[in-house]
Amino acid sequence: MARKITIEPVTRVEGHGKVTIHLDDSNNVAQSRLHVVEFRGFERFVQGRPYWEAPVLVQRLCGICPVSHHLAAAKAMDVIVGAGTGDGLTPTGEKMRRLMHYGQMFQSHTLHFFHLASPDLLFGIDADPAIRNVIGVVLEHKDLAVQAVLMRKFGQEIIRATAGKKIHGTGAIPGGINKNLSPEERDEFLKGADPLNADKMISWAQAAVDLFKDFHSKHKDMLDNFAVFPSNHLSLVRKDGAMDLYHGVLRAVDANGKKILNDVDYQDYYNHIGEEVKNWSYMKFPYLKSIGKKDGWYTVGPLARLNTCDFIPTPLAQKEFEIYRAYTNGKPNNMSMHMHWARLIENLHAAEMIKQLLLDKDLQGKNLVTKGKKQLEGVGLLEAPRGTLFHHYKINEQDQIVMANLIVSTTNNNEPMNRAVSHVAKSVFTGKAEITEGMMNSVEVAIRAYDPCLSCATHALGRMPLEVSLYDSKGALVDSRRK
């Protein structure tokens, strides 16, 4: 009987994930899987509720990226109130939402780099976990830590100014926005006391990219060879091919860069994307229908976005994008650890976009909402920090939601995360009889590159986030690790 190694975060309510690595009697990896228990109750819960409640209701789904759900639902409701499919909002409405979105992107990407990536990159995967963490970074790289904390704070303040409040923000409403940005708020972000201003955020975001490039130059072997596998890539892009994290058309490329989904309107996403159910995971496996279930899976998120777009429409990020693309000779980058590089380039883009938007007088406009002829169905898509987020709703004549379908970023990345785990498992577990901290962390590093949202909406004390258990050939527990 083969042994089974389990890595399982135990949660009470929403999704939880575990990694099972099946070893044969010779301790070779026979099979590895990332199981994610996805909470799907939300789609039933929202049925019967008035459509205009959706942008607030959906924030119950996730306490980590509530802004992304808030905006995706609002975009779907724009269609339902007849405000068009992304291009019908007033300039103030659209630009306030974009500011909110890029604020979210900035704080989320900053957190991921500082909290998850930098400890592994600065200390190494095999480093003592006592130092390979946020506090370790603080002790060894205090300037970086201070920057990260204040970058997060800046992003959160952008969200507060646009969404209205931290919990259950109400800024985006069907057809627009419920407030503009006052000149005082704008000036605080543009000219705030050093370091809390847009220019400093851009310079720190640039420094983070430079830090990664410096690390990469010294650790190419690890970063270029860890969990590398060919993948399709999918994201929104602007109609002219530019990176656009808020709105655009759906584009997918294969591992060689060939377009396999050619800039389609996402209102018809269901004609292009299917969702496969597998009996060993509650989380579905999306795929491109034109390719089929077996080979149609794709990656979303920073790596995918830099593989699908033609250029980045802000100067500093574009310069970094050119360096990044040149590294793979213009071909799609399929190196999982380069997700961190891509994420930091996006973070620089987000900082530049925030300043660009703050300088736009439309943010002080008074015309906030667009309405038109009511529709009974709407789809809202955007690029959340972790990848493409789909919200699809149908309503009845009584304005009640009768159908909701959400494909969240982590679901889109289900297959690539499994592939990443499989590659790492075969690399580090083969021939090993026990779990070391470094082995366990290697699997985590592969998963964390995708920044999955496995268990986020509730957090109450009493939860234990991660467990590794090792069973012998008779099924008896012989080793266990918990963190």
């Binding site: 975060p9 009470r12 309510v13 109750g41 939300f42 819960f45 209701l57 924030q59 119950r60 789904l61 306490g63 980590i64 509530p66 957190l111 991921h112 500082f114 909290h115 998850l116 006592a130 963490n133 946020v134 506090i135 603080v138 002790l139 205090k142 830590a145 201070v146 990260a148 904390v149 204040l150 997060r152 704070k153 959160q156 931290k166 919990i167 259950h168 985590e444 964390r448 920044d451 999955p452 949202c453 496995l454 268990s455 986020c456 909406a457 509730t458 957090h459 109450a460 004390l461 009493g462 939860r463 986030p465 991660l466 963190k483």
Partner: protein, 162 residues
């Protein structure tokens, strides 16, 4: 900033997970001089800034096991980092604040027992009772903490009413 920061965290859209923000909402209505309130879905690294600027901090969270109707105790900084970016413990926020700014305030955790965690707005009946008990308890404790840091919490009729 100074004073006492009362920071509730949790998701009010998931029933009793919203106990922390609910208690903060009750405190906000009392407008106690020297008390600053804040809440969010979870604690994060930037909260170390506000923590460092306070004389004392009371974190308020939901509790999923034991401790009825609530538990209250002093916290020490601790480096208990979790698997994801998605939350930090109050002790790790304290540790971060300490290491970054070198000024750890006195810190306490009020953990209120909850029971239901579904996609529903509003507390379960049992949790609401625990919230009332925690609110009755925390008022005098805040007064003691404020007095300990040189502020008078009960001047001009501003103390928490029970």
């Amino acid at each position: 900033m100074g004073g006492v920061l009362v920071y509730g965290y949790g998701n009010p859209g998931r029933q009793d997970d919203g106990l922390g923000p609910a208690l903060v909402g009750m405190l906000e209505r009392e407008r106690i001089p020297g008390v600053v309130t804040d809440c969010n879905y979870q604690l994060q690294i930037e909260d170390a800034v506000a923590v460092s600027e306070s004389d004392a901090v009371i974190f308020v969270d939901a509790l999923s096991v034991g401790g009825e109707p609530f538990t209250f105790g002093e916290l020490e900084p601790s480096n208990d980092i979790t698997f994801t970016t998605h939350t930090m413990s109050p002790a790790s926020v304290l540790a971060l604040s300490h290491e970054l700014y070198g000024r750890p305030p006195r810190a306490y955790l009020l953990a209120i027992r909850g029971y239901e965690w579904e996609l529903v707005e509003g507390l379960s009946q049992a949790a609401a009772g625990n919230l009332e008990a925690a609110f009755r308890f925390i008022g005098p404790r805040i007064g003691e903490i404020l007095a300990g840091i040189g502020r008078d919490a009960v001047t001009e009729g501003s103390a928490i009413r029970h």
